[in-house]
């Protein structure tokens, strides 16, 4: 089992979700986060140019069985990228971490079948 964590642009959330649903990956957790990476954006506030330290992003967490790791990653990669094949600085990152255990609270089921 793996935990896939994707940090993406807020704008792309709809596209990524649609793509994931199409790929039959429906069990996801989404949160609004902010962070700092390579991207730099400028905003206007009362005519003054400011560069915020932290940029708002969306974090998607998906726990999957081994068989689904590749398709999940591919789907996110394709749908979260902006500007065609090239992509843009700020499109985000995907982290994959090993997942020790997964327990369904309702039944107490453990392991791959609980995902």
């Amino acid at each position: 089992m793996k935990l896939i964590t994707a940090i993406i642009r807020e704008v792309q959330l709809d596209k990524v979700r649609e793509a994931l649903i199409k790929a039959e990956i429906t069990r996801i957790t989404v949160s609004r986060v902010s962070g700092h990476g390579q991207q730099r954006i400028e905003e206007m506030y009362r005519g003054r140019r400011i560069v915020p330290d932290l940029i708002p992003k969306i974090k998607i967490e998906i726990a999957v069985n081994e068989a689904f790791v590749d398709i999940t990653v591919d789907t996110v990669l394709k749908s979260a990228k902006t500007n065609g094949v090239e992509g843009h600085v700020g499109d985000g990152k995907i982290f994959i971490t090993p997942l020790e255990e997964c327990i369904r609270i309702r039944t107490g089921e453990r392991g791959g079948s609980a995902i």
């Binding site: 949160s31 905003e43 506030y45 915020p52």
Partner: protein, 443 residues
């Protein structure tokens, strides 16, 4: 001695130059003026009320953009109204009565010292009417919320105000407007059922259908971000509506009291019937339902406030809720995307009020109408007049809106780009995202 004579000459000259104002000056009725000033402020209060009402109903990424739809109308329409709007609405018929014009209303330059027969300064009346001109295009924004380009919206409401609102306002409320003089005592539109609500609702529907749905509608669930704001907005609208309706008597007396009472009753009965219908139909009463009912009742009583008695207002409120609720159910089936139900509430509610008020007109009014028509004037006669006014408003605003949007869309894309729509309108209203969201957790 010589100095005195020169001085006298000057005074004489001055009096001759400004001669008119000294001669036909009517006395100011301070009571009426005070109430009309209050009403003017109350109607303006409805605009931030509307901004909150709509702002709470959209997704958090669109809150500020949606609120700006209402606020920018205060800027654009106020300026247009002073420049030409008042002249087009309340000047004398020109071009066969399509709209009015009077050079002394151009930039309000000739009414500096004018006092109307009602005993209020003309400035007060023109500003009071100007607030109606502001809120009407702002109402339309509810139909295409969350998917319109801000720049195109600004241009749209400017043209809409000039080409739809001003002519309609002239027909219904100017002394020589053709709907004002239809039938025995004219088409009844006390405070803007046809001018404001039907025109805004129908135009909204046309615009919403022209633009197409929001991305993902209706498969993706689109939830309101903050109903607390919506409820506060509905409350402000209710309060402001006393200025809207009771102020439309342009006096401070009996008719003001009648309009105020009818307004209160219709809002309450509308709200109650909406949550009762909901309880039966969906098994629970909701806050949004109550707010929608308030609006449906208020919209329906708007044309009627001057002519119906309390029981009539009560029934109008109930009818409005029943029909608006049905209309919104139908919308869900038909699948067009009137985002915040501008047509469902304002269009349908306005039509309900304008037609059904015929059955509840107080006796004294009907007697005067009979006298004016040399004999009998029945409910059915009045219903005919009302229907004609309603149909005129529907046809005119639908056609003109289509023309305006069609032409505008050639020059500047009316619908926001897919990217902007996904990012939310707030991005374009120049403030950092998190300051825009009152509840930033909603995705």
């Amino acid at each position: 001695m010589k100095l005195k004579r020169i001085l006298l000459l000057f005074i004489f000259l001055f009096a001759a130059l400004t001669g008119t104002y000294a001669s036909d000056r009517t006395v100011i009725d301070t009571g009426a003026t005070a109430w009309m000033l209050t009403s003017t402020a109350l109607v303006l209060l409805m605009v931030p009320g509307l901004a909150m009402f709509y702002g709470g109903l959209v997704r958090s990424k669109n809150v500020l953009g949606t609120i700006m739809h209402s606020f920018v109308a205060m800027g654009i329409i106020s300026v247009l109204w002073v420049a030409v709007g008042y002249a087009m609405s309340f000047g004398r018929n020109i071009l066969g009565g399509i709209f009015g014009w009077d050079w002394k209303y151009f930039f309000l330059n000739g009414i500096d010292t004018n006092i109307l027969d009602a005993g209020i300064p003309e400035y007060v009346f023109s500003m009071f009417q100007g607030k109606f001109a502001i809120i009407t295009p702002a109402l339309i924004a509810g139909a295409f919320a969350e998917r319109v380009s801000f720049r195109a919206y600004c241009l749209f409401i400017a043209f809409w105000s000039l080409l739809v609102y001003n002519p309609l306002c002239h027909w219904v409320w100017a002394q020589d407007g053709f709907l004002f003089n239809l039938g025995a005592r004219g088409a009844v539109d006390f405070a803007g059922g046809t001018v404001v609500h039907i025109s805004a609702g129908v135009s909204g529907l046309v615009a919403a259908m022209f633009l197409g749905s929001r991305r993902g509608y209706p498969y993706q669930v689109i939830r309101p971000n903050n109903l607390v704001i919506t409820m506060l907005g509905a409350g402000l609208l209710w309060v402001g509506w006393f200025g809207f309706n009771a102020g439309s008597s342009v006096s401070s007396g009996l008719s003001t009291a009648q309009a105020l009472t009818a307004t209160q009753i219709a809002a309450a009965s509308g709200a109650l019937s909406w949550i009762i219908i909901e309880s039966f139909h969906q098994g629970k009463a909701t806050a949004l339902g109550f707010a929608s009912g308030i609006l449906a009742g208020l919209v329906a009583v708007t044309p009627a406030a001057g002519v119906v008695q309390p029981y009539g207002a009560l029934i109008l409120g109930v009818l409005a809720s029943v029909l608006c609720y049905t209309a919104i159910q139908a919308k869900n089936k038909l699948g067009y995307d009137d985002s915040l139900d501008a047509f469902g509430i304002h269009g349908v509610g306005g039509i309900t009020g304008a037609l059904f008020l015929s059955f509840f007109i107080r006796k004294s009014w009907m007697e005067q109408a009979s006298a004016a028509s040399d004999g009998s004037w029945t409910i059915w006669n009045q219903l005919g007049v009302q229907s004609l006014a309603v149909l005129t408003a529907i046809a005119f605003s639908a056609v003109m809106t289509l023309v305006i949007i069609y032409l505008l869309d050639k020059f500047i894309k009316f619908k926001s780009s897919e990217k902007d729509e996904m990012a939310g309108l707030d991005r374009h209203i120049m403030v950092k995202e998190d300051t825009a969201c009152l509840i930033p957790s909603n995705i």
